[in-house]
């Protein structure tokens, strides 16, 4: 596999004084697709947001290294410009700003290059067609009045437009029907290359039917308790997280 992209060492993080991440270790190399599974409240979303730099969380220990540099102290927008992307579980609604204007601003920020209106629009419509999104979405206010499924698709559209090096998908599959999951995962497959990596957080392993994950990690109570290949997901499907918990405690 490719060179190292993300390395997390003994990461601890709290929110409002409560420790959520209790020593996470994780290594993601270029070209890899990692899946993180775990029960509700295990810290999956926290991990995703701490990597993105959400100021709500405080890192109390450990280190996040991205492309060989510590990003513990780096602001959110600078992480994005380095190529980290988070597909949010609950994307924010921003009234008054169209999807197109927002994405053009974001693309200019991430690439550092002005985006010509017509060229940008062409690219946007291409990506929207790939995700089976109607053209009118470009003119709608960002996530404003979108259904749950529309919001998730819009996250993947943003990912496709911004071309991140590391894409973290926080339960992008939940709330989607099978057709939508297929479209979203097709989108991911088209974007995936030897140059980028995915960290896919999911509660179900439905999405794994459509994606060739390289690694599966089980996150429980703020720690990665088990890592393996795709067969680990199958095992979870059959016996559930509780059984795993018992094994671990046993």
């Amino acid at each position: 596999m490719g060179e190292n992209l993300l390395e997390i060492k003994n990461l601890r993080a709290t929110v409002e004084g409560k420790e959520i991440l209790k020593g996470i270790n994780l290594k993601v190399n270029k070209g890899e697709i990692h899946v993180i599974m775990g029960p509700n409240g295990a810290g999956k979303s926290t991990l995703a947001n701490v990597i993105m730099g959400d100021p709500t969380y405080e890192i109390t220990g450990g280190e996040i290294t991205f492309q060989g540099e510590s990003i513990n102290e780096l602001e959110v927008d600078k992480r994005a410009r380095k190529g980290i992307f988070l597909s949010f579980q609950y994307p924010e609604e921003i009234p008054g700003i169209s999807v197109e204007n927002f994405l053009r601003t974001a693309k200019a920020a991430v690439t550092g290059e002005e985006q010509g209106i017509f060229q940008f629009r062409k690219l946007l419509l291409e990506k929207m067609a790939m995700l089976d999104m109607k053209e009118e979405y470009a003119g709608r206010y960002l996530n404003h009045g979108f259904s749950g499924g529309e919001k998730k698709k819009n996250e993947i559209l943003q990912m496709a437009m911004l071309e991140p090096v590391l894409a973290i998908l926080d339960e992008t599959d939940s709330g989607l029907d099978i057709d939508a999951i297929r479209i979203v995962t097709e989108g991911i497959r088209k974007i995936a290359s030897e140059e980028n990596s995915f960290l896919i957080i999911t509660h179900y392993n439905r999405i794994l039917d459509y994606l060739d994950a390289d690694y599966v990690h089980i996150l429980m109570d703020g720690r990665i308790v088990k890592s393996g290949d795709i067969s680990l997901a199958k095992e979870i499907e059959e016996s559930g997280f509780i059984a795993l918990e018992e094994v671990r405690n046993g």
């Binding site: 993105m52 730099g53 959400d54 100021p55 709500t56 602001e75 959110v76 927008d77 992480r79 994005a80 410009r81 992307f85 988070l86 949010f88 994307p91 924010e92 921003i94 009234p95 008054g96 700003i97 204007n101 927002f102 994405l103 053009r104 601003t105 974001a106 920020a109 991430v110 206010y141 960002l142 943003q158 911004l162």
Partner: protein
Amino acid sequence: MAKVKQDIQEPDRLVFDLKQDIDYRNKTWKGLSVELIEEISRKKQEPDWMREIRLRSLEIYKSKPMPQWGPDLSDLDVNEIITYIDPDFKKQNSWDEVPEEIKEIFTALGIPKAEQESLAGVGAQFDSEIVYQNMRNELAKQGVIYMDMETALQEYEDIIREHFMKLVPPEDHKFAALHGAVWSGGSFVYVPEGVQVDIPLQSYFRLNAPGAGQFEHTLIIVEKGASLQFIEGCSAPKYSVNNLHAGCVELYVREGARLRYSTIENWSKNMYNLNTKRALVEKDGLIEWISGSFGSRVSMLYPMSILKGEGARAEFTGISFASKNQTLDTGAKILHAAPGTTSTINSRSIAKDGGKVFYRGLVKVLPEAVNSKASVSCESLMLDSQSRSDTVPVIDIRNDQVDFGHEAKVGRISEEAIYYLMSRGISEEEARALIVRGFVEPIAKEFPLEYAVELNNLLKIELEGTIG
């Protein structure tokens, strides 16, 4: 929109703060006395009835208490305000003949240029008097009248007498009475039946003298089936002493007529802006208020629409932006007084750096105004924890055949939204700017094109040092 703004900046005051060193000695008249009022009236060669309105207003002013609600006015001492500034030049209809130092100011404000490019007529008031007034010939040929109030009082005395301070009587409140006593300058517009004035007329009010008041009177009559777009602009340079603006606007919209009245108010932050505006709308007529409030130390401004005729309509669209040391108490009043009348109020307020914005509005539907429709949407956004905002939309409906919709929101800029935008590479300042622009967007697109640019410039406020 060409380029997304990088940050939200305080309105660029540079142009507005240009001061002209004018020798005001022997020109300023201070205070409020019967002698002073009579002197103003004599100088303006007014008919007796107008002098009587002034003197009666003065009595009313003295008898009324300061408003006991709304913003704090305790720092305002009207006795210290210069009530009239005697100009030593005559009104002109060519910029070449306007005194150089005054022309310079209006040129910097872009008025002569706008006149050439996008306006059908311009009136420019400097301190107490109109210094320039002109209108395109083709409008004059159609019988449109656009002139300063003083001239109108000489030339169209009957029309003025029939309408002057009939919508806003001096008994209305203390500052309406003050206005009645010391009013000076302002515009008179008359659009004859069926005439459409598609290109806007603009009056620009400039208060240059420190410690002075501006009391201009605007009277507009749009006859049956006619239409008019009117723009009012105002600004003043900043001084350490208080200035006062107590203008009055009276609008008569006759049967089937339309009037769009737009204001961009950019007073300096030593200004008390206590302005009264009212429109009377007859059968199937339409009044549209577009209002941008950005300046002043204190504003109290609640344009009122009286829907007198069946099917009359009123639309109010407003943005207020209060920054440090500003209290903007603005809103709209609608009186539904006939069946089948419709009103829409759409207001957005923003407060930053400790500024205070309040939406204060009233929608009243009388028992006879059956089958009427009213909707009120007022939202405010606070950009930091020192700023304050509230909405007080009063609704008073006296019959049960009214379709009424209401939405009020007061919120702070959402940290989650900022995080979300930043996660796409957008800087914090830009994220805030985007959210603010998005907040005002539904309103901003209602602004006349010639002001959309100015509005965008006004919203370019620097957020450096703003704590989230």
